[in-house]
Symmetry: C2
Subunit: 346 residues, 2 copies
């Protein structure tokens, strides 16, 4: 193919995995998306499959093979720099990559997506929630990220749990009326299958009985899926939805303050803080001067920044921007909407 050796960055998340191929000069030449890639959450088999899917799609898009790749960096939750994990080796060996995969933390990759500054903060608030402080390009402090039973305050799960409890309190008469209630019942029991007339406990409404039945039929993790209802309700002026999201933003500030020392950039990832609304507003309102917020989509760009550093290159801000821009162009190309548009033009 006559081009430079390539770097492969893998951002393996609990919902989907992103893979990107780039040259050492920061030109992204292939991008692909696959299924869940977190072995802790999904098991090694499913995670390997999700990563392989993303890698194959990126290779197809680039018209290349893993033989051209000189370094693979994979960002995975709980896989700190230098984690001795081997779970990805079989999938990559089968595709012709003979070297070892280098693991990095997903939080550091998210940070590096937004800044090449050796000092700064990474704030990620999606299904989970945590904040890191970066010094000399390494994670030196971590706050929260403790999972749904112990923490993840302000996260999607945290919000979803408050949404369903607000609906229950409304129906139970212990909390205020809220538009969340109808949204929760519609989302969890769309066809009303959980309504069993005459079966409610004395002094309890049928809707509350229905809510109890559907919630306990599912897993706690499913509650994170209720988060969009808070955004919709808050957008329509619902006081309860607004209060939940404002509290989420304040919880993230509290977590941030536990690791904050010197001024530095604050890179923000994850849907909760990047979607405009009360959580975003509450968090930004609490950032002092000297802590400029930088929004990132995910950790994909950062995996390449970290790969370059491993290769002895010192990527600067212009390089980070070059990767970001060329990746954005690839993503626009690979989006399903564009595929359909191209097909209809053909």
């Amino acid at each position: 193919m006559g081009r430079d050796a390539l770097l492969l960055g893998i951002d393996a998340g609990g919902t989907s995995t992103r893979a990107v191929l780039a040259t050492h000069s920061g030109d992204c030449v292939g991008y692909g998306v696959g299924g869940p890639g977190n072995p802790t959450a999904r098991g090694v088999a499913e995670a390997s499959c999700g990563v392989a899917e993303a890698v194959d799609a990126a290779l197809r898009a680039a018209g290349g093979t893993l033989a051209e790749v000189v370094l693979v960096v994979a960002a995975v939750a709980g896989h700190d720099a230098g984690a001795e994990a081997r779970w990805l080796d079989p999938a990559l060996r089968a595709r012709g990559f003979t070297d070892d995969v280098v693991f990095e933390s997903d939080l550091l990759a998210a940070y590096a997506s937004g800044s090449v500054s050796p000092f700064g903060y990474g704030v990620v608030c999606g299904t989970g929630a945590s904040v890191i402080r970066v010094e000399k390009e390494k994670t030196v402090a971590t706050s929260d990220g403790l999972g749904w039973m112990l923490g993840d305050r302000g996260s999607g799960f945290w919000i979803g749990r408050r949404v369903v409890r607000a609906a229950a309190a409304h129906l139970d008469g212990t909390g205020p009326e809220t538009a969340l209630t109808e949204g929760v019942l519609t989302m969890l029991d769309p066809d009303g299958a959980a309504v069993l007339p005459g079966r409610a406990v004395s002094g309890r409404s049928e809707d509350l009985d229905r809510l109890i039945r559907v919630v306990y039929a599912g897993t706690p993790a499913r509650l994170a899926g209720l988060t969009p209802l808070a955004f919709t309700a808050a957008g329509a002026g619902d006081a309860v939805g607004t209060a939940i999201l404002t509290a989420a933003g304040e919880e993230m500030l509290h977590t941030f303050r536990a690791v904050r020392t010197e001024p530095g950039p604050v890179v923000i990832g994850g849907s909760v803080l990047s979607t405009p609304g009360p959580a975003h507003a509450a968090f930004l309102a609490g950032l002092d001067e000297g802590f400029p917020p930088i929004a990132v989509v995910d950790g994909t760009v950062g995996t390449l920044i970290l790969a370059m550093r491993r290769s002895g290159i010192r990527p600067d801000e212009a390089m980070r921007q070059r990767i970001t821009d060329s990746l954005r162009a690839l993503r626009a190309e690979s989006s399903p909407v564009d595929h359909r548009a191209r097909r209809s033009r053909a």
Copy 2:
């Protein structure tokens, strides 16, 4: 045997089951304890077994058989008055009882254990938490009792979850220091098996890493077992433990207020509010005049009050006291300590 026909009351809980045999004049003649008796929590097989164990022990203590019993009332969570449940029939038929079991709610039985007033309130705060309003001897309003995902605010689970999160926040630097932390680590990981040196995420302590590992290796329900740590810590002046228990008492007041109308007795059951401490104090401090608090051990006495009403007897306060006193005497006799004492005297 030449004695009156007997009533059998069964108070079937999620942890243990109590059975009591009494005459229509309120003399308890047999008492026994068995395993868990809640079919929703434990399944029909285990619950039937727990109930049978308690019933057999009570019959042995009375030197009687089920053929002498004219009415069986079983109080079970979620089994409202007249619930058409048949799960207990096989166990009782096998013991010679040919009639149907009458089901009542565990909350109404707890209320009736403390008061024969046709109007009043029943407050139960143990592993779960709920409040009922009773009018004309029937439950007319229920608040909370929504389970650990939706409510049970102020309950043992609610407290245990706050205890473990307070320990995590302490170790994570996002919350104040608390004596709860050492208690939690010792209770969940007594032999330090979850300590894996050098495995912690960057910037996280080994103890926090250990806590995360043991918590996610268990079920959420296990967290209710941490509740005693809050009482111990609060007793020793720990501010975090005190604040959690005070908040639990206030949550119970909030739940109580959702069903409160006219003045009436407030019957209080469950370990959280009956153990002296900040929860108990906060709840009592919020009760206005005209709402006298009455503490009960459980719903056993109430099952007999409800059985008498089903038999056409109108038990008055003297009758409730007679049942309570004679049951207390039986319980003292059947306690393991007394057994040992009697044996050593023999």
